[in-house]
Amino acid sequence: MKTGPDKAGYFGAYGGRFVPETVMPALLELEEAYGAAKKEKAFRRSVDRYLKEYCGRPTPLYFAERLTAAFGGPRVYLKREDLNHTGAHKINNCIGQALLAKRMGKNRIIAETGAGQHGVATATAAALFGMKCVIYMGVEDTRRQSLNVFRMKMLGAEVVPVDSGSKTLKDAINEAMRDWVTHVKTTHYLLGSVLGPHPYPVMVRDFQAVIGREARRQIVRAEGRLPDLLVACVGGGSNSIGLFHPFLGDDAVRMVGVEAGGRGKKLGDHAARFSGGSIGVLQGTLSYLLHDRHGQIAPTHSVSAGLDYPSVGPEHSHLRETGRVEYTSVGDRAALDAFHFLSRTEGIVPALESAHAVAWLRKAARSLPKGDLVILNLSGRGDKDVVTVASGASQV
């Protein structure tokens, strides 16, 4: 199944390049460089080598026996992206883009980060390849995730706290874009999700699709057939599209993306773009968006910083429109419960982002046929969230 994008970067009606002219030529250059690199065997081999020997891929597809027993219906497999180097799927994309930037002769890397996972992964790749690295992070997030700020600094990155707007992820992206506009000739913007202007959504998807390619091989080896259901959380949407994409042509495989339901349905209390948003343009892409009736971007809330963003990758908007993927949401409380539940049932502490997917499956499992094969993408580990959970669990 072909989902695009077309030449202008559109997945159906979504995507495109809504950026100031100054960076437009850089996007065209990036598109061309990426197009050439992905056709080149040496580049692909280099990416694969670092993913294998440095990141520890392939990550296991683990049959969760006690989880399966607890659910009493489907057979549940966890795709263990939490076992990647740096603790999440983010590194897959960072290795690819850092190697591409090197190939383009750009030795300065900038990136945004919310929870800090993408910032840590970017700082790691920059250290690995000897590149200068600046990470933009909302002041609010530097407080919530101070441990990751230290990690980035230890890896040699400069961390710039962003004090404008809501002081979170979207403001960090604005500031990274401002840096890019200013230093566009020497700098590569290493965007962390399937967001932003073309070619980022397709490029990040391609680098993350390793998740789904591996999972496909692994499930066929373990069970002799394809899965019935794939589940993943959706913030910008890179871990979910990474798992889903290699299965899109398999019509019998059902796919569910789980957004952050936050603390309620009111605008400002959640990050459920599909149920609470409408079409709009933010930070380079046309997609579903949480905004008020005058087009001002709305504040968002989620207990999980990685899902706390007002827009969603344009390919997801397209997949929702075609009906190929179902999207739903899970609130803070259910996600926190699932965080504890998976920790105690399997001895795996999930990232709060991934816990949203666990929470959905926990509820849906009852209505799934016995013996159905499910793959849940465990996109990251929860060490970063221990403080949040310990301090906030009683308040939610």
Binding site: E21, V23, M24, V281, H294
Partner: protein, 271 residues
């Protein structure tokens, strides 16, 4: 005569006279609509070819700290796109300087492009600049604006190739807005060394009237740019001058003094 036609004629007349005009920028509703209204009336003066009015946006990613703060103050005062259009409507007919709206794309898109275009036309808006809309994405927007006779101004940058500049000029009416430097609004204390060469290259390439902005903060900048373009845009410096004062009368005074100084280098040129 509609706003776009007035602005076309004003730019043509500057070109005939070998003169250059000033385009001052203010954010609508910073710190209040009442102040903006008074400020625009004060800016309606010789030497000013058009007034650029910014629609505040929650995520102004092409703007430096000064205009970001200005945008935040305006949003805090409850300013919206319709409120900005209402202000233009109150002003048009009572001032002779055309008003150009500058907005990020999402507020216009959310309003509905056709609905926005009609409303802009009725309010007397001469042209619109969409900060984050490159020509590649501009077709539906241009169609909506052109249908009602509101101009569409696109931006060109130091990174734009000759081919791109030509394409941007074709989409731009009544002028093309050249971004003097790679950076956000108001950044840098000096203009790039090669800015004059770039402007001359662009003037050889296109016949469209040419305005230059971003990083133009001092009369010396205006003096240097004026012989090589039709209009000079000053934004952050004006916003900052107003920001420094507390009382309306002092704000208007600061604005008047700075605009006077910026117009100085233009006075001897043809007009």
């Amino acid at each position: 005569m509609a706003g776009r036609a007035v602005l076309r004629e004003r730019l043509a007349s500057l070109r005939r006279d070998g003169a250059t005009g000033l385009i001052p920028f203010l954010t609508a509703g910073d710190p209040s609509m009442a102040f903006t209204e008074r400020a625009i009336r004060a800016l309606d003066r010789p030497g000013v070819v058009a007034i650029e009015l910014g629609v505040p946006f929650s995520d102004p990613l092409a703007d430096g700290p000064t205009i970001q703060r200005s945008s935040e103050r305006a949003l805090a005062a409850g300013v919206t796109l319709p409120a900005t259009l209402d202000l233009v409507r109150r002003l048009s007919g009572t001032i002779s300087t055309p008003i150009v709206l500058m907005s990020y794309y999402n507020p216009m898109l959310r309003h509905g492009l056709d609905r926005f275009a009609k409303r802009a036309r009725r309010s007397g808006v001469a042209a619109v600049i969409a900060t984050d809309l490159p020509v590649e994405e501009g077709a539906p927007y241009r169609k909506a604006m052109d249908r009602v006779g509101v101009g569409t101004v696109f931006l060109a940058a130091p990174t734009s190739s000759r081919e791109r500049v030509s394409r941007i000029a074709e989409a731009s009416d009544p002028f093309l807005y050249y971004v003097s430097m790679t950076g956000t609004t108001g950044s840098g204390s000096d203009l790039p060394k090669d800015v004059v060469d770039r402007l001359e290259m662009i003037r050889r390439l296109i016949a469209t009237p040419l305005a230059v902005g971003f990083g133009v903060t001092r009369p010396e900048h205006v003096k240097r740019l004026a012989p090589h373009c039709d209009a000079v845009v000053v934004g952050s410096a004006l916003v900052a001058a107003v920001e420094r004062e507390k009382r309306t009368v002092d704000r208007l005074g600061a604005l008047d003094r700075l605009v006077g100084r910026l117009c100085g280098p233009l006075a001897g040129r043809g007009a």
